[in-house]
């Protein structure tokens, strides 16, 4: 009898041990098709005051015309470009303060003739109509009905990594963080998406975990500690700059599946820096040498998720100066809904001449901002057609 009991205990411990030893990422299908990137030039005419230098922009389609709305920081205005015509068509000046103002703009997002501007620090959202009508939403102390006190939740907005709110029907999906030391493990224990109901003016729920890489012993990744939100046909895709996996959730926050969206050699779990690291140079060097991802975004017409992966590189050039964190060799991965996101098309991208954070869907491909504009009244992009 005792032997049986010990045997059961032993088997249980063995099972727990085996479960603990299982790789964190289960065997996801890795199917990569290498494609050749063919870039053509695309010019966007602006006036002398137009700039698309900041990360804050949103691309959208309305009445079968493709638009780009970009934040013009110099004028405190939204510049709206008709991408089909390749020119600026409107400029909406925004107050910096007051009942229809916003002190700072971290990101733009769009739905049904409304451009939303968000200031994460003041928790303000400005609804700006194409007819220039403006309405302010104050979103302080939203209770997302999780273990966090509403005071502890902040909007974590970082457009280059895709940390930008999404809107679907009357629900806004916010990338959220917790007010605690971001070097500590505790920061990475709470959910990353908070859902807010615009009709009911209240928070509903939170969902989505941080990638397990962030809670390992050496799990500090500095500025790579962001969550990327992207829509796809049936829900919301969550990814992280350090993870090869993109997780697909339905609009209710239930996980549908994980997909591999990275090169074959990307580590299943990247090792980060020791926590409570006060060496900022070490953090920058990590960004230079390691592979990581920018935002994940969705191409509705091609039903494809898209993300850029930086390739590994040496820390220094032969002259002993540092290589760049951003301007180097990259991959572009495209995963298609029609193939259930199983296979990815992989393109090599020269990131030396491009500013990859400013990239968005256009026609059958994407536009990527070129680094140098020779002419002040023309913004230069490369157009990459997705095959």
């Amino acid at each position: 009898m005792d032997i049986d009991r010990y045997m059961i205990r032993f088997i249980l411990i063995l099972l727990i041990f085996i479960a603990g030893c299982k790789p964190r990422i289960q065997d996801l299908d890795i199917c990569i098709r290498e494609k050749e990137a063919q870039l053509t030039d695309f010019h966007l005419r602006t006036d002398s005051l137009g700039v698309v230098g900041a990360f804050s922009f949103t691309a959208f389609e309305k009445d079968q015309i493709e638009f780009l709305a970009a934040w013009n920081e110099a004028l405190n205005a939204i510049d709206i470009y008709n991408l089909d015509e390749g020119s600026i068509i409107d400029r909406i000046i925004i107050d910096e303060e007051g009942p229809k103002g916003i002190p700072n703009v971290d990101a733009l997002f769009y739905q049904e003739d409304i451009i939303y501007l968000i200031d994460a620090a003041s928790k303000r959202i400005l609804k700006v109509g194409f007819d220039h009508r403006i309405e302010l939403l104050n979103l302080r102390n939203i209770d997302f009905n999780d273990s966090r006190n509403p005071d502890m939740v902040f909007f974590s907005v970082s457009p280059e990594f895709g940390s930008v709110p999404l809107i679907h029907d009357h629900l806004v999906y916010f990338p959220v963080g917790t007010q605690t030391n971001f070097e500590s493990v505790d920061y990475y224990k709470e959910n990353v998406v908070g859902v807010y109901d615009l009709q009911e003016s209240q928070g509903i729920l939170s969902f989505g975990n941080w990638d397990k890489g962030y809670v390992q012993k050496n799990g500090y990744f500095g500025s790579l500690g962001e969550v990327s939100l992207s829509r796809f046909e049936d829900g919301i895709a969550i990814s992280f700059p350090i993870s090869p996996v993109v997780s697909l959730y339905d609009w209710h926050g239930d996980k549908v599946k994980d997909i591999w969206m990275a090169s074959q050699t990307f580590p299943k779990q990247m090792e980060g820096l020791p926590r409570y690291n006060d060496d900022l140079q070490r953090e920058r060097n990590f960004l230079v040498t390691s592979p990581w991802f920018l935002k994940t975004f969705y191409h509705a017409k091609k039903k494809s998720l898209i993300r850029f992966e930086k390739k590994e590189q040496r820390l220094k050039k032969p002259d002993q100066t540092l290589n760049s964190t951003l301007f180097g060799e990259w991959y572009l991965h495209v995963s298609n809904d029609d193939s259930f996101f199983v296979c990815i098309d992989q393109y090599d991208i020269n990131g030396y001449d491009h500013f990859l954070p400013i990239s968005f869907p256009f026609k059958d491909g994407i536009l990527i901002k070129k680094l140098n504009d020779e002419n002040e009244s023309i913004l230069e992009f490369s157009y990459l057609e997705i095959q």
Binding site: Q320, T321, L322
Partner: protein, 154 residues
């Protein structure tokens, strides 16, 4: 006893004690040498600074954190610090009290060097080494003044 002394674990420990002690003491001596000296020298060389000459340098890096350098910039508008050289890795400004021995480097090349510097710092170059580098991280001009004058009056 002999067998005990010959145990592999003890041999391993003894070996590390004998090797470790000198290494430990060397490590203590070398802690004065700044970890990213090489990058600083490469940058100073690029600027054309004589790195063989003993001198005290105040360096203010532009570009990473504007709030971090603001107190230092404000300080320079009203004071000329007691250092041999001031390096500002940004654009020329006519507002500063100091006219001589100040280098501006607006080309943005500072970030290309592995210097470990992300805010205002002061350091000495002595016998071809970077010594006594300290961060002058301050939230106000007055705090910065206390830090730099504390260093230069030593």
């Amino acid at each position: 006893m002999k067998a005990y002394l010959n145990s592999p674990i003890l041999k391993f420990s003894n070996y590390h004690v004998f090797i470790g002690l000198p290494l430990f003491s060397t490590g203590c001596k070398q802690s004065e040498i700044y970890k990213y000296s090489e990058g600083i020298f490469l940058y100073l060389d690029y600027l054309g600074v004589d790195i063989k000459k003993g001198q005290t340098i105040l360096l203010i890096p532009y570009g990473d954190c504007s709030l971090c350098i603001e107190p230092a910039i404000d300080y320079l508008k009203f004071n000329d610090p007691l250092v041999d050289l001031v390096i500002i890795t940004g654009e020329y400004s006519a507002d500063y009290q100091r006219i001589r021995d100040i280098i501006y480097d607006p080309g943005g090349r500072f970030k290309l060097y592995e210097t470990g510097i992300f805010g205002p710092v002061i350091f000495k170059i002595e016998t071809g080494k970077v010594k006594g580098l300290i961060n002058l991280q301050a939230s106000t001009q007055m705090e910065f003044e206390r830090l730099i004058e504390g260093y230069t009056q030593l």
